[in-house]
Amino acid sequence: MIELKNITKKYEVNKNNTVIALNEVSLKINSGEVVVLKGASGSGKSTILSLIAALSKPTSGEVIVDNRRISKLMDNFATDFRRDNIGFVFQKYNLIPSLSVAQNIILPLVPTNPDEKDVETKLNEVLEMFHIKDKKDILVKNLSGGEQQRAAIARANINNPDIILADEPTANLDEKLSLHFIEIVKELKEQGKTVVIATHDPLFFNLDFVDLEIEIFQGSIVI
C-alpha cells in the first residue's frame, strides 16, 4: 500500500521565491490498484510520482510504501528501494539511443550483477509480454515512438516491481498507440501490479479498470 501523509513539497527557486508544488496532500493507494492522477501541467502530479519513487523528499510529511517510511530513506537506501520496488515510465521514455532494445531493458539489472542466464530469462519474458521480441537487437534510435514506449515499459518491468509509475506516458503517442498503452496497463493490473499514472490525456478518464481518479489542482487534491 502507498500512503502519502500531509505531504508538502516546496521548491526554492531563489531566496525570495518559493514554489509550493504540493500542499498538505494525503492519499492512500491499495496494492493492485490502478490510479490516475489528472490535472494541468504544473499541478503537482509528477511531484507525487517522484515522492513515491523516493526520487525526492518532501519538505514535510511522510510517504509510506508497504509500511516502509521511504521519505526518510537516505539516498543509498532509496536507490535500493527504487531498484527493487519501482518501475518508472517517463514521458520521453529516457532510453539510451545508442544501445539496443535488449541492452536498454536489462540496464536496471546491471547494478545487481546478476547471473547471465537469469538476465536472458527475464529479458525474454518482458520482450514477449510487451510484444517487442522482434526488435530486440535494434538500436533504440531506429524505433518508432510506440515501440520506444513499449521498450520503456519493458525496462520498467524487468525487475518485476510491484509498483509501476508512469509520468505522462502517452504525451508523445498518437491515439492508436495510446489505446495500446492503456491495454498494457490493464495487463499490468491483471498481474497484480499497482500502477499510478500522471496524465492529462482524456483517454485515461472513466476507464472501467481504473480504481481511482484523483484530480490535482495547484498542489492540492480536489476530487
Binding site: 501523509k5 500531509n6 508538502t8 523528499k57 518532501p58 519538505t59 514535510s60 510529511g61 511522510e62 521519505s71 526518510k72 530513506l73 537516505m74 539516498d75 543509498n76 537506501f77
Partner: protein, 315 residues
C-alpha cells in the same frame, strides 16, 4: 620558526581543516540538539540533508588526517636534520614545551577519528540512522580535541629555535633521563614481558568468549603495555643495541622504515579491538583485531628470537 615545505604543507592543510571542521561543528550542534528521526517536519528533513553534508565534511577531514599522522612523523624526522642535537623525531618533539603533549594528543585523536569513521560507516548502513545523534555528539567533543591539536601543532612548529641545542633520543629514552618517560626503565623486563604476553593471551581467550567490553578493555591495556615493551625491550633488538630505546629511530630509512609497519599493526589491531566494545554491530572486528595483534606479537617476538639465535645472548 622553520618553514620547510613539509611544515608549510601541514599549516595549509590545517587551515583548510579548521575552516571546514568549524562549519561541520556548527551544523553538528544543530543536528545534535534538534534531531528526531521519527519526525516528518520540515526541520527534520533539513537536518537530514545537513547531516549528510556535515558527515561528508568530517569523513574527508578524518580520512586525510589519519595518514597525515605518518606525514607528521616523517616531518619530525626531517626536521631533526635542522635542529642541533636532534637525531630523530624524539629530539624535535622535545625541542619545544608542547611537543610531547602534541604527540600524545595526536595518538588519542588518531583512535578517536578512526572510531568516528567506523561509527559513521555503521550509521550509513543503518536505515533508521540510529547512530546519527551519537556521532554528531561525539564530533562536538572531538572538534575541541581536533582544534587543540591544530593549535598545539601550529605552536610547536612556530616555536622552534634553530640555534638552540636540543637533546637526542639516546639521552631522552634512558633510565638516567630526567623526563617522565624514564620511569618505565625502572620496571623489570621479565615483569613487562609477562604483562605483554599475558595481555595478549587474555585477548586470545576473550576472542573466543566474545565478551566485547572485556575484549575492548584488554585492547586498551595492550596499547599501553605494547608501547612500553617496545621502548624498553623490543626496540633494543631492532637496533641491536642494549642502550638504545628510541621509539622514533626505527621509523627512519636506516631501519627500512620498519617502525611504520610495527605501529600500523598495533594501531589497526587495537583500534578494531576497541571498536568491538563501542559498536555492538561490529562483531567481525574481533577477527581483524586478533589477527593484527597476533602479527604484532609474532613480529616483535621473532626479531628478539632471531637476534638470540644469531648471537646466543639476550640484550
Amino acid at each position: 620558526m622553520i618553514l620547510s615545505p613539509e611544515v608549510l604543507t601541514i599549516f595549509i592543510l590545517n587551515t583548510i581543516f579548521a575552516i571546514f571542521a568549524t562549519i561541520a561543528f556548527m551544523l553538528s550542534i544543530r543536528i545534535f540538539l534538534k534531531w528526531n528521526v521519527n519526525s516528518s517536519s520540515q526541520l527534520q528533513y533539513t537536518l537530514e540533508k545537513q547531516s549528510f553534508l556535515s558527515a561528508t565534511i568530517i569523513k574527508y577531514i578524518f580520512i586525510i588526517k589519519i595518514p597525515l599522522f605518518l606525514f607528521f612523523i616523517f616531518t619530525l624526522d626531517k626536521l631533526s636534520n635542522v635542529l642541533t642535537g636532534a637525531m630523530c623525531g624524539a629530539g624535535v618533539l622535545d625541542a619545544t614545551s608542547s611537543g610531547t603533549y602534541l604527540i600524545v594528543l595526536k595518538i588519542i585523536n588518531l583512535y578517536m577519528f578512526a572510531y568516528w569513521l567506523k561509527l559513521n560507516s555503521q550509521d550509513m548502513l543503518d536505515e533508521m540512522q540510529s547512530y546519527t545523534k551519537l556521532k554528531f555528539g561525539i564530533f562536538i567533543v572531538l572538534f575541541l580535541f581536533f582544534m587543540f591539536e591544530l593549535f598545539l601543532e601550529g605552536y610547536m612548529f612556530s616555536s622552534f629555535e634553530v640555534d638552540k641545542m636540543v637533546s637526542c633520543c639516546g639521552s631522552l629514552y634512558s633510565s638516567s633521563s630526567e623526563s617522565s618517560i624514564s620511569k618505565i626503565f625502572l620496571l623489570k623486563s621479565s615483569y613487562l614481558l609477562t604483562l605483554f604476553y599475558g595481555n595478549f593471551l587474555l585477548i586470545f581467550i576473550f576472542y573466543f568468549l566474545k565478551n566485547r567490553y572485556i575484549f575492548a578493555l584488554l585492547n586498551f591495556t595492550f596499547i599501553i603495555i605494547s608501547l612500553i615493551t617496545l621502548i624498553t625491550f623490543f626496540g633494543t633488538y631492532i637496533y641491536e643495541l642494549p642502550s638504545h630505546h628510541c621509539p622514533f629511530c626505527f621509523l627512519q630509512s636506516e631501519y627500512y622504515y620498519i617502525g611504520y609497519l610495527i605501529y600500523l599493526m598495533l594501531f589497526v589491531g587495537t583500534f578494531y579491538g576497541l571498536c568491538v566494545g563501542f559498536i555492538k554491530e561490529l562483531q567481525n572486528c574481533y577477527t581483524i583485531s586478533l589477527l593484527f595483534n597476533f602479527l604484532y606479537v609474532i613480529f616483535l617476538s621473532s626479531i628478539a628470537v632471531i637476534y638470540y639465535i644469531k648471537n646466543g645472548v639476550w640484550l
